[in-house]
Amino acid sequence: MGVVDEHFIAELRRFSGHHDVLTDPLELLTYECDGLPHLHQKPAVVVLPSSADQVQAIVRLCHQHEVPFVARGHGSGLSGGALPIPGGVVIGLSRLNRVLDVDIPNRRVTVEPGVTNLEITRQVAPHGFYYAPDPSSQQVCSIGGNVAENSGGAHCLKYGFTVHHVLGIEAVLPNGDLVRLDSAIADAPGPDLLGVLIGSEGTLAVVTKVIVRILRRPESVQTLLAAYDSISAAGLAVSEIIAAGIIPAAVEIMDSLSIEAVEAAVHPNFPPADSILIVELDGPVAEVREQFAEVEAICRRAGATTVEVAQDEAHRARIWKGRKGAFASMGRVTPNYYVQDGVVPRTKLPEVLERIRQLEARCGLRIGNVFHAGDGNLHPLICYDEKIPGQSALAAEVGGEILSYCVEAGGSITGEHGVGADKAEYMPRMFSADDIDVMQLVRRAFDPKGICNPGKIFPTPRLCGEVPGPYRAHPMEKAGLGERF
């Protein structure tokens, strides 16, 4: 791997503005971590390009000098996917934030990667349209980051993930080539390369333009909130809804600790409960009316102590504010918290939640739970105090234990936050060495020099799938962060 020296920085300044190349230690501080602050690393340099051409020039320079780089959106990622590479370059894409085209007749919007998720909906809302993927961070997260992580959100049960909504992209490959790729949604023949690029966590390319499809607003949206004395009763309601052949737009469950946190922070005024179930249906009026009555009856049959039906948009917004504010609200009940993101087949939820409860009792850390119940995506919130020696490490360990439960139940170590740097070491719990090696072969096809966000997704200590041949020190080894065994 090459080194970022004065010559390299001078080159960067040649095609970026002087003020767009940051080397001051104080300025670099912002870029040391993303939304997962316990992983941090100082980069050698941060570049803030304003155009795809500049991104291309930066990547070309990195390629020429074999300098590793990571693209960064708005830094709201929760798996350390934008964690800088030691001695490497951070390409901050926040200045590529233009909405390039709003094409209502063709149901598509073209944006630069630094545009926020919610901005797309803002642009098309006056025409009665919206952009479906809705991660909880949608007010701040960038569409480039959504492409990297294949972001979902509460409504992906019915509407799918980012990969179901991206028609095409423009991107800079790790060798500096600027390419345009259409997805299978746009009928591009051949292997769906864009399909594999979306969700590759910034390891295959740097996206400079994204074309997304937009959807017509549903005619009607109905939301209810049901309170339960136990999480299993709430879970039973979810099973019954699915068994009735109803696919809600969203099905969310929050437990008592997360309810306590959001009440303190955003005051959604939830009824007193051990668990809260939120169910939302959307679609044509006549259909929603009929199915919603059925859902309400199911919720009551499952033992709801209260069922609150959102009477208007403000009421609905208040319910969602409570749900979407859950992570950010945890600060009200704990000095520090660690969000995990595991998935289990929905029917295994009761079993896995029970194991988490036992783990909570054993480890002494409080564990809140907020989850997308419809698709079995758990977000345990592990509370700890970094000032108490050993608690940070314990929280990480507890997170890993929960992921093991998910994998043992036939699930996944991540449903939407990505593997990043945080969970690379857990990949072998889910995938064999051969599985990982073949993924690495694909990575090398895109990035033969291994300079595009190295150290993410794939476990580094065993250095699976490195280019066969003579020994070459891995950047993590060189940086003293990994060793070979």
């Binding site: 993930f161 051949g190 052949g245 259909e287 997308h372 699930g411 996944s412 064999s432």
Partner: protein
């Protein structure tokens, strides 16, 4: 290559038989047809073929096998015929796993026992799960449910080096590792062999009916489409059909087929709303067996009469220009028919005539890059396929696709020269 054996790799190896004329692809008869019974067999066949640099074509139901370039000699046809099981149906989780050779209709018959289905359609009887994923072929219901790639949540593959690997899993939401299932979508068996695949499922609709709106001019259809897609109706199909065969001698040559799937109580309201929106058309509403027959016939309409079949995409708002193009071609004596996803901008064109007429039509479509994208020839005579690149330009995807192909199939044995990569 070894000579024809009853079993590859000795008595315990996978069964194989000598290729016959019925196995021919574009007239090329494979030396042998292997019929592995397990994933391990598939991997073993690929590993030995790779060592011998034997050209392998993977065959599911064989319904789309002629799509692609004409083959050079084929050593092995790897048939997934015996890998035909529905491995798991986790109905409470709305997921199912099937082996590559399982027939879509057989799988759906099983899934229906629990009121669910895998919304993958094929106009061809005997189409398999593996073939649907490899071609990413879809039908009118793509409007609502997407293509197989959108439903796939996990995949098991046999690689040319003999390894069996997986990507994804059994849960509908999962972003761990690369999604190699996407890479298989549209790969036409050029990268690896699909052994089994896991999908998210959908509840069978409680009720459905279809509104067929017939127009005597293209403008009427385009206006109706705009009214439908601009409304908040949620149709399951939004299908355009333009054919001189539709009603010979009559004015009505353009049809819009809108299928609605909903609750029994709500269904009629949707149909009536749609009917009001397609003002000026002659409308028929079909349900039950008549509806199934309508869709079966619609699916086959392009494939039953003779002619080349071409797939192409366009921007949805350009449908008027696409219909005008079809009209112009007809005026110039080319028999052209269109059937496609009106709201998505994707369709199949059947072009009848001699080889030079057909070739000219494809070249014409490709020259209209302002209108058409991704013009791919699916069905064509061997003669025609030898004079035209069926895939057309892959653009920037060509170099990347070749790099991925080289990484996964370094000997280049899979679907050699025939596939898109």
């Amino acid at each position: 290559m070894t000579d024809s054996h009853t079993r590859r790799g000795g008595p315990s190896g996978p069964p194989e038989i000598q290729g016959t004329a019925s196995d021919a692809i574009d007239g090329v008869v494979p030396r042998v047809v292997a019929q592995p019974e397990s994933a391990e067999d598939v991997a073993a066949i690929l590993a030995s073929a790779s060592q011998e640099r034997a050209a392998v074509v993977i065959r599911g139901g064989g319904t789309k096998l002629a799509w692609g370039r004409t083959p050079s000699p084929i050593d092995i046809v790897l048939s997934t015929k015996r890998l035909d099981k529905l491995v798991a149906h986790e109905y409470a989780d709305l997921t199912a796993t099937a082996q590559a050779g399982a027939r879509i209709d057989d799988v759906n018959r099983e899934l229906a026992r629990h009121g669910q289905w895998l919304p993958i359609e094929s106009p061809f009887e005997g189409a398999t799960i593996g073939g649907a994923v490899a071609t990413n072929d879809s039908g009118p219901l793509r409007h609502r449910y997407g293509t197989p790639r959108d439903l796939l949540i996990g995949i098991r593959l046999a690689l040319t080096d003999g390894r069996l690997i997986k990507s994804g899993g059994n849960v509908v939401k999962n972003v761990a590792g690369y999604d190699l299932g996407k890479l298989m979508s549209g790969s036409f068996g050029s990268l690896a062999a699909i052994v089994s695949a896991t999908f998210k499922l959908t509840p069978l609709p409680a009720a459905s009916s279809t509104l067929i709106a017939t127009f005597d001019n293209a403008a009427g259809l385009v206006a109706a489409l705009s009214a439908i897609t601009g409304s908040q109706l949620e149709a399951s199909t939004c299908e355009v059909h333009a054919s001189a065969l539709l009603s010979p001698g009559k004015a009505g040559h353009y049809r819009l087929l809108l299928k609605f799937e909903s609750t029994p109580g709500a269904l009629n309201a949707h149909v009536q709303k749609a009917r009001a929106l397609v003002d000026g058309a002659q409308c028929d509403v079909v349900a039950a067996a008549t509806e199934s027959d309508t869709w079966r016939d619609h699916g086959r309409a392009l494939w039953t009469p003779p002619g080349m079949v071409v797939k192409a995409a366009w921007l949805p708002a350009s449908l008027g220009s696409v219909l005008a193009f079809v009209g112009e071609m007809r005026e110039h004596g080319t028999d052209m028919e269109l059937s496609g996803r009106a709201a998505l901008g994707s369709g199949l064109f059947r072009i009848n005539g001699d080889a030079s007429t057909q070739r000219a039509a494809v070249e014409r479509m490709r020259s209209r890059s302002d209108l058409f994208r991704h013009v791919v020839v699916l069905r064509a005579s061997t003669e025609l396929k030898q004079t035209i690149d069926v895939w057309g330009s892959l653009g920037d995807a060509a170099t990347l696709g070749a790099a991925v192909k080289h990484a996964l199939d370094p000997q280049g044995i899979l679907n050699a020269g025939r596939g898109p990569v």
